[in-house]
Symmetry: D2
Subunit: 318 residues, 4 copies
């Protein structure tokens, strides 16, 4: 009944872990205590998992979900070409930024509404639901009109006004962990959404900031099974931002599948070297195809692990 | 010719990455520059990998190597029981501490020489080479007498006197990354060993220290393919110290296999709840068996990835 | 001509530092390179400093500015009592939250508009300009109606929609460094404000997140002189959030004065033990008075250092 | 009776803090619990402080102690010239490395014994006790022969063999915090020394490793009053390693005095631009003189704060 990839059910007789009750009376205990205020986002004793439906795709259910696409929508040709290619390679949703959160005022800020329209067109053309980021409460309505899954970016996880607006919208949410948020804080942000009326939340590990200089961030991959022990919400991994370097993306994607993530969020660009943002971490179209083919046997194992576990339940109807 | 798990050869035609040459002229570049002084530890253009022989076992070769055993040797019964069980479950080497590096003067400091003798006895009884830590230059000779692979602990990675003594000893070295060492610094420590006469070095990712409170450390799993891009030395992962929590060990072990690590270092104890050290992160014997059975299909994929790549070369003879 | 507290002019003949030009061609250089895109926020060769006027108070000018008050406005009595006391003790502005950014949906969220009105009333009663946080673009207009200095909280430093709204408002901004923002990123956020029409920006160091558990954050006090080397904007320190523990606040306040900060942002509450938020880091009224008296001789030295330096210039008129 | 610079006695009636008892029942509490095993290093209820005598100089007593000198001893001329200059400027001890801990095998490793002899000669010539690092247990005896205060470097704080050897030697110890050690762990290392027979320990904050790229480390300046609340041992600050950049050293030195440190450890070199190690963070001789003159008024305040507190006690006789 528990989550198939968490240690909790590697083997019921032998692995009778209760991640929470078995804790030592120490600092970790105190950290868990902070979780006791989280009523809705905490896993139930039954071990049921939440499935989040994004148009015709379910995340947290019995198929691994790869979401792929460019960092930012740059042109119709770019997004159509990418959508066609990632659909053919097995991606099940299309990502693409209309509004881009950039710290520097001089960086490319995205095509805005025009970008959203192109993204929608490309998703529809190739049967892919689309994912895009809303950066502020005032953008939510607009993004919700075009996107099937609304992304909360790493810089926005603690933007309470944005979260409040998302509670009132009827789209599911992709909640990315802030660069320095603890797992407890990621769950608090999710609790905020659930407590205020939006039960359809997908969590995303995208790397935390540490002292390392050779990768853009440090992927806290263990957050995936840890979250699966603590919450029924699905958890996906963004190997592009986690590493910042395309040559490391396929390896990390494989690890994410093996550790039991529910999906991936991957940056793909027809011409990474000319991308207006995040080129160094974007896969080219052939590279993405290659990565997907090579993920295949790992995805079969993923499905077998899942099949041994119990059925999941959809998020509460709204 | 390149390492099978690094992006470098996911597919030669499509994935013509050169991890180093393709770098942007930015901060990462500066970090890599610091690597240019590392002559011996750097990967050759041929992509050859180093195999380190530990008695009858080769690390970095065509079989994944699981090293398992108790944190500290506590008694003959404890270590014999563990050795028998891990050998049966598929471990290929036995770990166990004689001398324990403990920050608190009041913590259990290990059985010392007596511990080493028991470890040796247990390894011999079940055909397992043994791994134990030397904490100082003056211990090296003694540890080398009993252990087949000498561990440099996370607190000792920058202990120059210890590294110097290890250069003069004829045993291979298991070099654990310091809690806050960058990948560059781990390679510098390895370079020190190679430059001074000991080419038989296995690197170990064991988690870095970050702000998280729910796990003991944060496993920088991407360090595995990153190191494989940079150095021919084998790289293993310690999921026990990386997490500090046994319920997360099997998940992380699976990810380590999938990302292409050359082996695992796992803490196993017949009775974790009474262990004198690191009980919370030690697997029980049945849990270890369960983990190993469930790793099996991932290890088959690991071997297939490897088979598609080129033969490896042993470390230079001494 | 240069900033009095930066090493740059400790003694012109002997200390001819140019913080930027003297850099080694290494990783730091790369970091500085990222600053070259920051045109407005960068210090001019003349070394002029910016003064930000907040009603009748100037920050970055010839008097050190202590801003004090409760974390959140809780009641008329609480805020009036605090305002009177901090004014008498030497504070020159009153802080107080109407809207509180809380990660947990179950924590006290502030009194909202009612809180802002009470804050305004208390400030007017005791001649103190008031400082309060706007958490979203939609709140900016409302907060600007009541507050003289609008705070951007640590969770909002990268909220681009909020920054954009603040550019259009005529109030000066108190920009707090995000918990994990680099100094470069803090300057990028300031550049965003300057580039879009609001030159009146005060920077605030409030502690970064690290591995330490005994303090809430780690005060990066060296960011103060580093920022003074890089930008003409004033820099203040928040010793309350930096430590999370009231017994450490007075010591850190003293260090902030000595290192040349332009002011302090301190939490004070008439009854910290019953505060609805941040009680552990709030000073009581007598404690604040005691701290201020004991800061006095350090403030005299501060003024002497300043007097030896050149006159400052106000931010460009709007 | 309590430490003059800790909040604990800013004013006895008003500031009746007990740093430990007043803690919230939360994560910090758990961290403090880990301190309860530290019997000797913990502050007594009487608030007495320890004074460590280094030849004719007392650290932790009524005079602030500046220890200055080159990172590494490079030549007789270099060390003599530096010793003379720093003595004249007010330094009370001379630092200088004979054996240098360098991660890269190709970096300058120090002059060894020859360096120690030159350091001794220079100290004797100008009446300064000398400080030098022992990197391993086998070096302790040799370093103890020449140095009056033996430094444990940041890479060695957890080197148990080294600490054990230092317990048996009769010299006082300068214990530098490891790059990523918590305050609790620094105290554990000190407890190890005290528990095994060496009560003469001076603690040193030298910056921790964080994500910042513009400074070499991040000075955790609040560790100074925090340590003063927890332990009677003296605490000094190393502004050179904390920043890695000479233009920031004088500012941080001033903050260290103001926050109540017992001394400074500063790198000075007659010709920083040609230094064989750490040139970028070394002050030139005129810069050091300038810094010392400008520290003067802050040191007078330091002495006044101290004079209001009670007398201190020397470390237990050996």
């Amino acid at each position: 009944m528990a989550y198939p990839f968490s240690g909790a059910r590697l083997d019921p007789e032998e692995f009778a872990f209760d991640a929470i009750d078995s804790l030592e009376p120490d600092a970790e205990k105190a950290a868990y205590d902070s979780l006791t205020s989280l009523k809705l986002v905490r896993k139930r004793a039954t071990g049921e998992r939440t499935t989040v439906r994004v148009k015709n795709v379910e995340i947290g259910a019995d198929r691994f979900v790869v979401i792929a696409g460019p960092c930012a929508v740059e042109s119709e040709r770019q997004v159509m070409e990418t959508a066609e290619a990632v659909a053919r390679a097995g991606a099940r949703a299309l990502r693409g930024g209309g509004f881009k959160p950039r710290t520097s005022p001089y960086a490319f800020q995205g095509l805005g509404l025009e970008g959203l329209k192109l993204l929608r067109k490309a998703g529809d053309a190739f049967g892919l639901p689309v994912v895009s980021e809303a950066m502020s409460d005032t953008q939510v309505e607009l993004v919700a009109e075009y996107a099937d899954l609304i992304q909360v970016g790493t810089r926005s996880m603690e933007n309470a006004a944005l979260l409040a607006a998302l509670c009132r919208c009827r789209r599911p949410i992709l909640l990315k962990r802030a660069m320095v948020a603890s797992v407890e804080e990621l769950l608090e942000a999710a609790e905020y959404l659930l407590a205020n009326g939006n039960p359809n939340v997908v969590l995303c590990e995208r790397g935390i900031r540490t002292f390392g200089k050779l990768t853009r961030n440090t992927c806290d991959i263990v957050a995936v099974p840890l979250l699966h022990q603590l919450t029924p919400l699905p958890v996906i991994v963004d190997p592009s931002h986690s590493t910042g370097r395309r040559s490391l993306v396929p390896s990390l994607a494989r690890a994410a599948v093996a550790i039991g993530a529910d999906g991936l969020l991957v940056e793909v660009h027809p011409s990474p070297e000319t991308a207006l943002s995040d080129g160094a971490q974007s896969l080219s179209i052939p590279q993405f195809g290659c990565m997907m083919r090579r993920l295949d046997p790992y995805l079969r194992l993923w499905a077998e692990e899942l099949a041994e576990s119990d059925p999941v339940v959809p998020a509460a109807p709204r």
